[in-house]
């Protein structure tokens, strides 16, 4: 059973992948809750699905195209207006090694 492999180390690893800071208490709760949810969900891994194609999307459309014509886009000021920190021409972010 895959769910049995949910332990604190795995939770910490996944949280790091998801760029999510969890408190100690949150991580401990996550171990319990994810295990119980996955235990229920894992019933589907017992189904015989060998010849079944996957469905990623229900809409039967491929390559929806439009003419490649220039048109006005969002003005820069509007795009930057909601940023927590912006310069005149871009989003400002902390240095990776500050």
């Amino acid at each position: 059973m895959l769910a049995l492999m949910i332990d604190r180390a795995r939770v910490d690893h996944v949280a790091r992948l998801a760029r999510l800071e969890l408190t100690d208490e949150e991580s401990e709760r996550m171990v319990r809750e994810l295990s119980s949810i996955l235990e229920h969900i894992e019933r589907i891994t017992n189904l015989d699905l060998a010849d079944v194609p996957p469905t990623s999307h229900v809409v039967d459309l491929t390559n929806v195209l439009r003419p490649d014509e220039p048109r006005p886009c969002l003005p820069r000021e509007a795009a930057l207006a909601q940023a927590p920190d912006a310069t005149e021409d871009g989003f400002r972010v902390p240095s990776p090694s500050a």
Binding site: L2, I6, R10, V11, V14, A15, L17, A18, R19, L20, E21, L22, T23, E26, M30, E33, L34, S36, I37, L38, H40, I41, E42, R43, I44, T45, L47, L49, V52, P53, P54, T55, S56, H57, V58, V59, L61, V64, R66, L74, A78, A79, A81, Q82, A83, P84, D85, F91, V93, P94, S95, P96, S97, A98
Partner: protein
């Protein structure tokens, strides 16, 4: 009869005929919305917008779920991480409604990023059910459902990813329609699970749902998965079900956790359908019992990817901007997301992570195929499949917050249709223990007109009276 007693379509009709003043109607509902004590709204308009009232929606104001972007108006999807966000543009669905003559009355409360079945996951606090204020309105479109049921808004829109329109409509005693995937543009809808998300109406009756739907459907160059509907939405007028074939899935009766009152109300309406001329037979959706498992892998997987954009850079909350970049990301997301959203991001990230992708996400996508196949087989014998909408009536606030899995089981009857991308409607189906129950009809893709007609005939025969919730 006061304007409050009128359905939205009837009010629109009177405005167009000159028997009702659109300004007075606005003031009536603006006043009621501003006095809301259910927690249904997160923002209420101060003044009547200047958009035209001579369109088909007749100036009847509309309430819109918080996760629709509305230019210059707060749009947070019920989340703290979008604190203070005022989008630079408006969602296509909302644009179409205001263009058709429905001014924006208010933004409604919801579960954060539409993740929840009780509206208790909102950064703005819970919503109360107007039938019993100690109970939940359902979710995630709980604010929209409570507002319409309580007469704080004539009609509203919400979004449905796994039941988020139909389940709260059921728990609040109103009509909720999830259209065929792609019928309405998703442009400007803050994304949860993109292969499942679909906007739709929450209304007092079926005719209102049809009218509101008719104004929203259509292809949109801004959403390449939008298709519109093959024919215009028509006003539902059917009064009987002659020639209609209804399938009742065996699985409804093999499921634990369906309340006896809900089941009794369901069976009574199936009998009513028979009296209206429908042929009713049992059918099988053999993979439906696995839909919930597939859904709780696919939806979190897509969500974990969609919600990666909340990183404290372009909008919303930023925490520890003076630290290094990674710390800023971690703290912003740790502080900005609530517990359920974190749980789903973790579940989705795990399901997509190296070594587990095939076992979880790949398997779920195959089960999704089987569920679509089940419905396709059903359409060879039946026009519609019918089930209860929710296994239970509205439950007390706090009753399920400690057990995420118990909360997920609320979506048992609504998730299969979402995975198959087919339309489904919930109509009020009488009371059980003085609380509303819902009756769900689902049909093949693009069968909206027939579905609304059948729902209309049943609604008329059921004769549900929702006025007590508006008192």
């Amino acid at each position: 009869m006061t304007p409050l007693d009128l359905s939205a379509a009837a009010a629109a009709e009177r405005v167009r005929a000159g028997d009702l003043d659109a300004g007075e109607l606005w003031e009536l509902y603006r006043g009621r919305a501003a006095a809301d004590d259910l927690g249904a709204f997160v923002w209420v308009a101060e003044e009547r917008p200047g958009n035209p009232t001579d369109g088909p929606l007749g100036g009847v104001p509309v309430a819109v779920k918080d996760l629709f972007c509305t230019a210059g108006v707060p749009s947070q999807a019920g989340s703290k991480i979008l604190e203070g966000y005022r989008p630079p543009y408006t969602a296509t669905a909302v644009e179409r409604l205001t263009g058709a003559g429905a001014p924006l009355l208010a933004k409604t409360n919801q579960d954060e990023f539409a993740m929840g079945s009780s509206n208790e996951n909102s950064a703005f606090g819970p919503v109360r059910n107007p039938w019993d204020r100690e109970r939940v309105p359902g979710g995630s479109s709980g604010g929209s459902a409570a507002a319409v049921a309580a007469g704080l808004a004539p009609w509203a829109i919400g979004t449905d990813t796994g039941g988020s329109i139909r389940q709260p409509a059921s728990l609040c005693g109103i009509v909720g329609l999830k259209p065929t995937y792609g019928a309405i543009s998703r442009y400007g809808m803050i994304a949860f699970a993109s292969s499942l998300d679909q906007a739709g109406p929450l209304t007092r009756d079926v005719a209102d749902a049809a009218l509101l739907l008719s104004a929203m459907v259509g292809k949109d160059p801004c959403d390449s998965t939008s298709l519109g509907l093959p024919e215009p939405v028509t006003e539902p007028t059917a009064t009987d079900l002659r020639g209609v074939r209804l399938g009742v899935p065996e699985e409804v009766f093999e499921t634990e956790g369906v309340e006896s009152g809900v089941l009794a109300a369901f069976e009574a309406t199936v009998e009513l359908a028979r009296q209206l001329g429908a042929t009713v037979e049992r059918c099988h959706l053999p993979h439906a019992p696995h839909a919930l498992s597939a859904y709780y892998l696919i939806a979190p997987a897509e969500a974990s990817s969609n919600l990666a954009r909340y990183d404290g850079v372009r909008y919303g909350l930023r925490v520890n901007g003076d630290a290094d970049l990674l710390t800023m990301y971690l703290r912003t997301r740790g502080a900005g997301f609530g517990p359920e959203v974190k749980r789903r991001i973790m579940l989705g990230t795990y399901a997509l992570s190296s070594g587990y992708y095939d076992a979880y996400y790949g398997t779920a996508q195959k089960v999704r195929t089987l569920i679509s196949d089940d419905f396709r087989a059903a359409w060879e014998r039946f026009d519609f499949v019918v089930t209860p909408t929710s296994p239970t009536v509205a439950f007390p606030l706090g009753a399920k917050t400690a057990d995420p899995l118990a909360m997920y089981l609320n979506d048992y009857f609504t998730v299969p249709m979402s995975l198959a991308g087919i339309p489904a409607i919930s109509i009020p189906n009488g009371l059980s223990e003085r609380l509303p129950t819902g009756f769900q009809l689902a049909g093949p893709a693009f069968s909206e007109n027939r579905l609304l007609d059948a729902a209309h005939a049943l609604e008329r025969a059921i004769g549900f009276d929702g006025s007590a919730a508006r008192a």
